[in-house]
Symmetry: C2
């Protein structure tokens, strides 16, 4: 599938809008858009369509969309369910560019509804007319006076001075409307906003990409429940990343963690929640965890430039709050470095009881001494070398005499340092808040929220410094994996080695004599393992002998493992045995790949055994990815200390591990069409400089049933 941006300009900036099912009653769903469009100054043509009235809300009405004399960019379909398909067909016939369907009762309701929705999708595909919805709340672009929605938010004015440039796209109409309305009181006018509903044609990803390309949009906030086109979403996020445009995403459905049936061991541990988490990391998406958080982050990141560095100065009127703020600063990776000695001395001279290190505490004295706050702010801004400053002034904004002094102090500081990044946390009135925001200072109520949002903003900005993940391979590699179903260990090792993933060397032997010769050639202790594509778990079958030290023992081991395997699974096709050197001294890790139905291959990394199985200490990335990304993937696990050499353990060869992970991801991406899973367990990471190597490798191709099912890359 991929992105389809055609027509989205007509959705957001139409020159003409028809309303099918237009109502004279401004409280009805078919009446509200007419009222809103005129109230909000839409300058284009409006065509109410209703066969029973000649005039609607003072405008000429048309019996049918065929009767409209001029071109129609956008049609809003607000007719009863059974009439929707015909209305949509009429729109397509009339050459409408986009139809937004408010009506519900489609795929979300019943199989019949799903059928009708599929019919609408077909009309869209055949005619090229884009369709938003059905079962959506529409969209708005108030910059152009467009309120193509029946949401109550469109009946409200946008408060003067509210933040603009923050767009919102949501699969849920209720969440879009809630955020737009709640945002108005929190200082954000989300605009444009789009609700995508059932997404029979226009996807959230299409809107996201369109908004990423809109220069008037600085930040895109999004609410996502699920996604059918993984490649499209990745393309959209890659586009936003390329343009340095922050995306703040609230994803629901974390608790419905993958109940996917999966053959391989690794698969049972990759749920869709992990896949989405990987996606967000790889494209530097700022993850919100509640509606409040979505709005807070939208405000903080959308407000204006974000600091590039993490050194922050905390200035408070309360030592206690300073400690709380420092706690949170650490948790969001902000540094709170001390003021230089000279600046500390200067502040102590101003007020001996002050806290002057950082957090900097004016104490309640700032109420008695009108000059104190300005002196503290100017000193900290001028001498602290901070990338940002976060100020807490308790409830001063509620007390008129105090708030004037505080606003004056902030203004003085701002005049001296026009470019400094400042956030303020203070209980305040809307008027005081607006006057402070007009100085380019963010205003929050809660001090720890101010700190958290600053930290998340800085991290998001810093995330744009590394390149985005490469897009997935949309054209499949011409090479296919030899064999089918579960590959034998020999074949698995061969394809992975060819892809540059180190797998322990082995000699494939077919007799006890060959086994003895191979052991003699290695000249060291060996492992003898039975080879069979029908026996993925060879140890259980008695098909493995470790630490075989002589050629004679190797010959015996050959006979034993082949006999044991035959006893264990009489129908398994046996293909001799593999003789490989016995490896020791490595740290056991697990590398795995599973195939996500939406996003294709997902690579997992973790420490061996109980670390992954019991502690669930693993990290994930969508394939393909670079060595740099693999390195951060390795550093992300809680047990990273075991690799980096914590507590006197030897440091491990993380570089070779990262290279192997990246190569594995490239291989998985190239074979995304016919790959089901890969399991490298254990993958031994040797001491620094000594490389790393898989001891066991298992590649599983998709069965025919699976390759024929619809998938992301069809």
């Amino acid at each position: 599938m991929g992105l389809q941006l055609d027509g989205l300009d007509a959705l957001l900036s139409p020159k003409s809008i028809a309303v099918l099912g237009a109502s004279a009653d401004p409280s009805k769903i078919g009446g509200r858009p007419l009222t809103y469009l005129r109230a909000n100054g839409f300058a284009g043509e409006i065509y109410p369509i209703n066969p029973r009235h000649a005039q609607i809300q003072g405008m000429t009405a048309y019996a049918s969309i065929q009767d409209v004399p001029d071109a129609i960019d956008l049609a809003l379909v607000s007719v009863p369910g059974p009439a929707v398909v015909d209305s949509v067909r009429a729109c397509a016939d009339r050459g409408v560019r986009v139809a937004t369907i408010f009506s519900a009762g489609f795929a979300e309701t019943s199989p019949d509804g799903a059928g009708a929705q599929e019919e609408i999708a077909g009309i869209s595909r055949d005619s090229g007319m884009r369709v938003l919805g059905p079962n959506c709340l529409g969209s708005a672009n108030r910059r152009a006076g467009v309120s193509a929605s029946f949401a109550a938010s469109e009946g409200r004015p946008r408060p003067e001075g509210n933040l603009d440039g923050v767009a919102l796209v949501s699969q849920s109409g209720a969440i879009a409307a809630y955020c737009v309305l709640a945002g108005l009181d929190r200082g954000i006018s989300f605009d444009p906003w789009i609700s995508t509903g059932n997404e029979c044609d226009i996807q959230l990803a299409d809107c996201l990409a369109h908004l990423a390309l809109d220069d008037d949009v600085r930040v895109v906030a999004a609410y996502l429940e699920g996604c059918r086109d993984g490649d499209g979403l990745r393309e959209a996020l890659a586009l936003a990343h390329e343009r340095g445009k922050p995306v703040i995403l609230l994803k629901s459905g974390r608790s419905t963690v993958g109940a996917r049936a999966a053959a391989s061991h690794t698969a049972s541990m990759v749920g869709s929640a992990e896949t989405y988490e990987a996606l967000m990391r790889q494209y530097n998406v700022c993850v919100a965890d509640s509606l409040d958080d979505l709005m807070d982050l939208s405000y903080g990141i959308g407000f204006g430039p974000v600091p590039s560095g993490s050194r922050t100065g905390l200035v408070t009127s309360s030592g206690g709050v300073g400690i709380l703020m420092a706690d949170v600063a650490e948790s969001v990776a902000l540094d709170v470095p001390p003021l230089p000695e000279t600046a500390q001395l200067a502040l102590r001279e101003v007020w001996p009881s002050a806290g002057v290190e950082n957090p900097i505490d004016t104490t309640a004295q700032l109420v008695n001494d009108q000059r104190l706050l300005a002196q503290f702010l100017v000193t900290a801004l001028g001498q602290g070398g901070f990338d940002s400053m976060i100020v807490f002034l308790s409830y001063i904004g509620l007390i008129p005499s105090w708030s004037h002094a505080a606003v004056d102090a902030l203004r003085e500081a701002r005049a001296a340092f026009p470019e400094s990044q400042i956030s303020l946390a203070m209980l305040t009135t809307p008027e005081v808040r607006a006057s402070i925001e007009s100085m380019g200072i963010r205003v929050f109520d809660d001090p720890t929220t101010a700190v958290r949002v600053m930290g998340r903003s800085v991290a998001n900005r810093q995330g744009f410094q590394s390149p985005a993940a490469p897009p997935p391979t949309t054209v499949a590699s011409s090479s296919t994996i030899t064999g089918s179903g579960t590959l034998s260990e020999v074949d698995s090792a061969a394809v992975l080695s060819a892809a540059g993933v180190p797998v322990a060397p082995g000699v494939h032997v077919h007799s006890a004599e060959e086994a003895a010769r191979a052991a003699a050639d290695f000249g060291s202790a060996v492992v003898v393992k039975v080879v069979s594509q029908d026996l993925p778990h060879k140890s259980e079958a008695g098909g493995v002998r470790l630490d075989v030290t002589t050629p004679e023992a190797a010959a015996r081991a050959y006979d034993e493992v082949t006999r044991a395997a035959a006893r264990y699974a009489p129908d398994a096709r046996l293909d001799g045995a593999l003789v490989s050197p016995m490896l020791t001294g490595g740290l056991e890790t697990i590398l795995g790949v599973v195939s996500d139905p939406v996003f294709g291959p997902v690579v997992m990394f973790g420490l061996g055994g109980v670390y992954v199985e019991v502690l669930r200490d693993a990290s994930y990335r969508l394939a393909p990815f670079t060595v740099t990304e693999a390195t951060s993937m390795i550093q992300e696990i809680r047990g990273y200390g075991l690799l980096s050499g914590a507590r006197g353990k030897p440091a491990r060869d993380v570089a070779s591990l990262a290279t192997a992970l990246s190569r594995l991801s490239v291989f998985a991406d190239e074979h995304r069409h016919d790959l089901d899973s890969i399991d490298l367990n254990p993958f031994l990471v040797m001491p620094e400089g000594a490389g790393s190597v898989a001891v066991d490798a298992l590649v599983v191709r998709r069965s025919m049933d699976e390759t024929s099912r619809p998938s992301a890359d069809d």
Copy 2:
């Protein structure tokens, strides 16, 4: 030290109040309490003290507190720093019961200030007059018209219908005032509230205990920075627990994690953050992580009865929000069970497009169908078998026509189910909010906050079902630990075994012959370890031989380990060797005790080796504690699956482990005066039913320097 509650009744419900440094200017610190007390209807006597005026704010003023004719319960000291000590002495001489000191410039400022504060503490001790502060904002008890503070919050009326019965105690005055003011707009009137400032006499714990005993107080919210008297705080929390009174605590200073110098291995891993976390778990304290959270939890838990069960029904006007709410429900251990089939069918009959399982989604249809919401609510309440219901109605509260219908539906549901626990999340006006709250329904803006608070509330209520931790042993055990400094392994094992903590049996031998005889007696493989109180790390000294299989080998091992130890540390006092059976088959864990300077012995539990060292996967409890508490301590670690038998591993003898932990805690508590640390590493947990046993045990007594330092139990 311990709790001292004397005089706190006079602080909160004084019959007479003197104000030292009373000012005619109602905006000055010495003027405001006079204004507030009269505005808020204080019915007792008010005595302004000021030598320069005969009348202040229309009241008779006195030149000195000696001139006041009647008894004085509470004196507010608002005089310049240098005059404070004399004023306090005058108060004590005059028989004042409590003096609150607003003035700053004491221990928080300079050594001189600390000296003055110590002088005030001495006056308090000698006279019995309680002192609040210095450097505090005072207190208020508006039920009695008492505003003994200069906080701006006292100049505000308490909105009608606001929640009462939620008290607040804070070490920071700014945080107290911020919460009181912010609370007014969020529907909570914190009352009484107390700010304790520098705590030269009255501690936060004293206030907490007093409020726990006050039947009009249903919930206590608290802000804590640190604590000098651990026993006092534990007593206060135990008292609150005993009375089933929820305590919601915001603790700052998490980021300044313990840089305590400590000798033992375990000590390096117990920071004060872990100690406080243990404290809060053991006394069922509800932990807030921001000011917003403190206020949300106070509102939710203080509102009224809290559900005892975790089955919750989610009713929303938006499927998307329902998913978000279900995500959060899982994260706070709320169950979201499906409605019974018959109820599902009934709802589907009302509205075929509805989501009827749980979350239950009315869809936006509730706007078109005025009866829909009531029908859904009544069906869910009547047939769902839920312990609570959380309803999301988007921004309906902002749209007058819709909100009337919603309020009617809620009223109908409430009439049918007067006892049901219901929370509502909806954007609303203050008037609509108040009318819904008056039905006994909690109102939040953000839907996930509503769910989170419900989950935390239920967990808090359930936490009262297990008994609180026993109080620490305040009278020291008459027994003392034999020996001094680091005990030898033989002595360590002896004292711990006597306390019921299983330590591997061992025979203390003093010659190669004795070693051989001991090995022969055991009749199995043994371990031979050198014994010396000067060699805590015997392996490094070459002082350990494992898996010694014959008496002859044991004799050789004796000679080897004693010689190696003598070479390694020529000055170490050697005391023969220990011969013990070689134990195998156990899961390695670590049990440890460190002595916290404030709270006394803290017990740590974790899995052996890297689990604790690298993954920091450990849990903590203050000694002493029960076997039940030990069990939850064991279940708390991330790697618990290794003990419970996850993924095909054998289940371990958790019962014997829990018993050992509890006995260790009792031993540590009994010896809190002379114990520094204990380290049982490894402590082997055998398969279920086979017990558990320490292989190595190390007990360290406090050095003389340490036992003489001031400690919690002095």
